[in-house]
Point group: C2
Chain length 259, copies 2
DNA sequence: CGCGGTTTGTTCTCCCGTTCACAAACTCCT
DNA sequence: AGGAGTTTGTGAACGGGAGAACAAACCGCG
């Protein structure tokens, strides 16, 4: 099965002509890709509680999304459900895991074993979700050699050797912002093509390298924006210093994104 | 969800009719809100390096976005630039900070002071970005009393008292997933209306409460998906076990989202 | 005072994502 | 076997965001 590109099913109205289970391997929308891990987790939860079949409605509830959206998302992977019945939990779980690429473990390196790096290195949740931390790197000689979660912290200079040795494609940056670009460059030069960046810095990478950033300050600031909105729209709250005593009509704050 | 919506300000195209400095307080798109903190950080960086004026092109480069997008985003706040000149760094910085609501500090509580909670509590970056951690809470009596970043860990039961005492509107959940919903309920009951959730769990909250989640496994899995894509499209890489020796024509992997 | 150069703010178009709604497909019961 | 009930998969409508393009506005200079 070598993914024959875009056959683009072309004739969807042929009815039951082709029941072949061939999943269309091309072109899953980015928004869907971002939700597949959520479905995977929800399915794992259902599986753990002994559920072996679920409807799109149940799974959608467990994942916190709309059921129509869920069905459309799953339809990009193929037709893995049974009408009138629902989805087989184990089967669908495997199909999503395969689509994401976490049926085997991906080796990962973490660079910058400070506060955050320690937490990441100690975190046990990665191994059960398709990732295996194979190396911890830090530039500070005082940290090198220390054991964190069963791995020794290695000198940053060994990065090329370690990446090659373990066939690492994914790197995590948990250094201060000033070092992030340099670390990124070294990672890319060593062969890493996917980077998860925790430093508050904009990374420049060559074509073909993916970067995702996790920025806690930004998340908090987004919350703060909405919080301020709520405080302005609803003077009954005590979140702002000057709260008007007489409550206005509590009209539904329509523009707000809260659920 | 009833949400009548759509009062639809109706006349956004007032043009130059109203030069009054009153910024339009309504309806900033969510995508823009998510980028304002990035601009704020870029402006702070420029300010720190002594730049006092910048064009949309420069700021966009510093923030890692398209300049047209930047200008459109800023236009939602008002007209704070000068044509032919650009933006005054300090002035724009203040305007964005005011719009986000981080001209004063927001008090924040963190629940669950384990690996991750320790890292968050020790992090110094929050205070300079509009947030002040006022309480650390944990249910484990062995952790209570421990000092982390200058704050003592308090028993979880004190949550209502602490939230009220410090007028906390924003809470961070860093507990295991099984405890997340319970902690969330208690936070909401205590008066918190914005939650940043690190636990891999779907939180259910009443209308009017905002939740944002940070899920590192999901981020890694999204990277893994693209990584697998790259490995399939380009057999020259060593990222997959079975790499074909003879390189096929490296046709441009058009669908790939890498930059 | 006008003119060229520069940069913003906005408009327009296109594309992606969300949601509704429904026919097709399956199970179960009679 | 057939019909009733259930649930999937998807076509289609809709809304929002991204990016290109451009007129308006501003500065400096002659
Ligand atoms: N700790 C948090 O909760 C938190 C929250 C938000 C963002 N962040 C960001 O995450 C990053 C790490 O945060 P932290 O609190 O762990 O910082 P930290 O200072 O505790 O740790 C940084 C580590 O990186 C190492 N380092 C520095 N330069 C390096 C280089 N060139 N190569 C390799 N290693 C290098 C240092 O030796 C140190 O061990 C920072 O960019 C921070 O802004 C952290
Ligand atoms: N550590 C990481 O790098 C990392 C990465 C990804 C996700 N996470 C998630 O973040 C969360 C925290 O991770 P961690 O590694 O810090 O876990 P941890 O076990 O080290 O810490 C959890 C803390 O929460 C406390 N706690 C448990 N139940 C509580 C309750 N009901 N009320 C208050 N406190 C309670 C525990 O006493 C403990 O101190 C987990 O959900 C984890 O899945 C962590």
């Amino acid at each position: 099965m070598t993914t024959p590109r875009n056959a683009r099913t072309a004739a969807p109205a042929v009815g039951a002509a082709e029941p072949s289970a061939k999943p269309v391997e091309r072109g899953i929308p980015e928004a869907t890709v971002a939700r597949l891990p959520v479905y995977l987790r929800a399915l794992t939860g259902l599986s753990d509680t002994g559920v072996d079949t679920c409807s799109s409605e149940e799974l959608a509830a467990a994942a916190g999304v709309n059921s129509a959206k869920l069905r459309k998302d799953l339809s990009y992977l193929g037709s893995y459900g049974t009408r009138g019945v629902g989805y087989d939990v184990e089967y669908l779980r495997y199909q999503i895991a395969r689509e994401i690429g976490v049926t085997q473990d991906w080796p990962v390196v973490i660079v910058g074993i400070g506060n955050l790096g320690h937490a990441l290195a100690n975190y046990s949740g990665f191994s059960s979700r398709g990732f295996r931390i194979v190396a911890l790197l830090d530039a500070d000689p005082r940290r090198q050699g220390e054991d964190v979660g069963g791995l020794g912290i290695r000198p940053f200079e060994e990065i090329e050797r370690l990446v090659e040795e373990h066939h690492v494609a994914i790197g995590v940056i948990a250094t201060p912002a000033v070092a992030a670009q340099h670390v990124c460059d070294r990672l890319v030069a060593a062969g890493v093509t996917s980077i998860l960046n925790f430093a508050p810095a904009v990374l420049t990478v060559p074509h073909g390298v993916d970067v995702r950033k996790v920025d806690l300050s930004i998340e908090l600031q987004i919350l703060a924006y909405h919080e301020q909105r709520k405080a302005l729209a609803d003077p009954g709250s005590d979140a702002v210093p000057d709260a008007l005593p007489s409550g206005l009509a509590p009209l539904a704050a329509d523009g707000v994104v809260s659920r």
